[in-house]
Subunit: 440 residues, 2 copies
């Protein structure tokens, strides 16, 4: 059997500790899969005294990740520090420059610097692997990079943030308002004390940027992503969606359109029968649509062991001498993405307006839609069956909810029409606009 | 760029024609993914005159697959002939013996001779790849072989036959009896004129045998699989399942138990909320459960382009020099499977009996269950809401359906209890027994 692959792990949080534990527990299986032993020889973390429930004897402790990357007894560096810059980036760059393959779970780093790092890895002819960076336990990176070369991919969409999906599930199943569902998620450890990164859609956007590049063979362009968070969602929207046969999910969606590549993260109405609509709680899922097939992968988006399992799959690939370019094709072959702005997005829309209850209001709003050539599938003026959910939005009943479901139209038309409606002063508060995704 | 990988395709049915077309259409993309051009240089099929909608000029035609395997201008052989023996087996063996990698979609061949062929491939140090053999467009082989080395897998279960799932979906959604749903499937080309191989569960069993080996690192043992088909299903069972919160699916299930590896293909009651319960029509799906995570993959189980896409993914892997053993670890490391017989299966059961409507019958049947220590979760004597479905089973209403839902028990206990019930002559016809799978 070939010599051992000696692994250095930078960052010993939940995932790092799981990586060490699993490599110990599955020594024989990993050796059989790799054709050589896998051995952790060095680690690096902030706090040396913390009890992580793993045996660190016989493993060299480095105080700085740069030292770990330079350690002559380390063949491969696992970066689990996190963050787009700082020590994480230094560690990865140092390892690649030293000609050492890198396995990372760091989506922020890849979204910001993925291309430069991939180019460096290719120059040094070593691997840069990041299965754990997107949707933890789901092998979505391997699938996009290796499993679908026979299919021209047109669309990748997914539930990429477990925190948001948990909150939406709780709101739907327990009838909770947003703030209460968020608190519950925080209490259970599914949401951070400052939840902005998750509920604002930014975490999902980092992941989407990586998936878009892999799916379409284009350069990562995280800045091009249109992002909305989930803070605006109300139980009323969920109740109406239920009546209409939809579920509301925070989706990341990348599609090829005539205008270019459209990348967006926002709440979406998904038909209940669609695979993504079935995904509840902290689970993640990704649907990939192409010329040859449409497949959906469902699984845990986070969690120590699930994410560690993705890290270990990458380590075994490296141990076997896997030779894929980080983004499937060489960085030089990745096309520059032509951005399709959100204004050119085409699709159906759910628009909920809190309308002042006066004669002629609905007619006036319908006219504003018609002026923008927006064709309406339905107008719901009746109150939804669940009265409690209305009271949560509008306890004094000054207004009534008016819901418009449009046929396919453009974002630009919807925005113009709503500007006109707002100028007419028929509505109270901000319109709730949720895009309808039929192609899930 | 490296020299072209020259591919010979044996078998030009729907999948073979798709392989040739896609390799032509995606020349640049495949070259970028492979690091070298992919080129079909030779083909072999029965009928040279048939119009397959593809350009075969500049491609050498062989009348025998053995000649194709021996062709000096062929580096890799794609076997799409089908069948466990005969020409398919000869072709694969000839290619491997000549030191040429093989890509095949042939599940019957692998279920019967997979180990011997894998050993031959390993001896010659060439690839034997078979992504297309199980669940066509779903990358389940790559996932099991490469994506989950960090997880000890305990269970793999799936909807592995699109024909059966289509028939069950039609019965459920349209209220059709089995024979009518089968005819519809045949009319649409989803079922063969002789449908035995699909509806008898044999096709699913071949696929399960391959998945079991990959998931658990054991030798293929297709003969160990307990197989039931779907012919016994009635609309009444589907109606009762609906009431109880289940869907009925033909599943292939492999689990590790204390007795060994349990492999079975049969109808199962799956909770509606489970990912596999959502899978309708000809779609396939597989759930993999392990120590680190549970993931589900959903996608097309058949179809020319979807299956061809799997073949092409394997070709690209070979072109890149991928070096995995066919079953993830060397054949010599695959353990001999300890068979857990179906009699030791533990789980809940749905038992529908057509009971002669006399006082004391239910009590007598319940007693027979108690004698085998079978604890009942519920007994349904009321007629289901859908009266039509009863009439289909029992137009004269001589008997009434009695449904027992058991708590976890063993197959052996259920069989003994039913033998006693049959001996009591309280029931008409054969008991309908459907295992309940909670862990989907």
């Amino acid at each position: 059997m070939a010599s051992a692959l000696r692994v250095g792990v930078a960052g010993l949080g939940t995932v790092g500790a799981s990586v060490l534990r699993i490599i110990g527990e599955r020594r024989d299986a990993l050796s059989a899969a790799s054709g050589r032993p896998i051995q952790v020889t060095a680690v690096c973390a902030r706090d040396r005294t913390k009890d992580r429930g793993i045996d660190l004897s016989n493993i060299r402790w480095h105080d700085s990740p740069a030292d770990l990357a330079a350690d002559g007894n380390v063949d491969l560096v696992v970066e689990l520090i996190g963050g787009a810059d700082g020590k994480a980036r230094e560690t990865v760059e140092a390892a690649l420059k030293a000609g050492k393959p890198v396995v990372t779970a760091n989506k922020a780093l890849l979204a910001a610097h993925g291309l430069a790092l991939a180019a460096l890895a290719e120059e040094k002819n070593v691997a840069l692997a990041f299965e754990a960076a997107v949707a933890g336990g789901i092998p979505i990176i391997k699938t996009l990079r290796e499993a679908l070369p026979g299919s021209r991919l047109d669309r990748v969409s997914g539930i990429l943030n477990g925190t948001c999906n948990y909150i939406l599930t709780q709101m739907e199943e327990e009838g909770l308002p947003f703030a209460a569902a968020l608190s519950e998620a925080q209490r259970l450890g599914y949401a951070e004390a400052d939840p902005t990164f998750d509920i604002g859609g930014f975490d999902a956007a980092h992941k989407l940027a990586i998936l878009t590049s892999l799916a379409f063979g284009v350069q990562i362009d995280a800045d091009a992503i249109y992002i909305e968070g989930i803070e605006s969602i109300s139980p009323l929207d969920l109740a109406i969606a239920e009546e209409l046969g939809y579920r509301i999910k925070l989706l990341g969606v990348a599609t090829r359109t005539e205008q270019g590549v459209e990348q967006r993260v926002h709440l979406a109405m998904v038909p209940k029968s669609a695979p993504l609509a079935q995904v509840m709680g902290v689970t993640n899922a990704v649907t990939i649509s192409g010329s040859a097939s449409e497949i959906t992968l469902v699984g845990p988006g986070a969690g120590g062991d699930a994410t560690a399992s993705a890290v270990i799959a990458d380590i075994v690939d490296v141990a076997r001498g896997a030779s894929r370019a980080p983004f499937g094709v060489p960085v030089s072959r990745l096309e520059k993405m032509k951005r399709a702005p959100i204004q050119t997005h085409e699709g159906g829309y759910y628009i909920r307006l809190d309308v002042v209850d006066e004669p002629g209001t609905a007619a006036s709003i319908a006219t504003r839609m018609a002026e923008q050539q927006i064709s309406l599938d339905s107008i719901l003026q009746r109150k939804p069956r669940d009265k409690k959910s209305i009271e949560a939005v509008d306890p004094e009943h000054k207004t009534v909810p008016l819901v418009l479901i449009t046929h396919a139209t453009t974002e630009a038309a919807v925005r113009k029409a709503l500007d006109a409606v707002l100028a007419d002063r028929h509505i109270d508060g901000t319109p709730q606009v949720i895009r309808i995704e039929k192609d899930q």
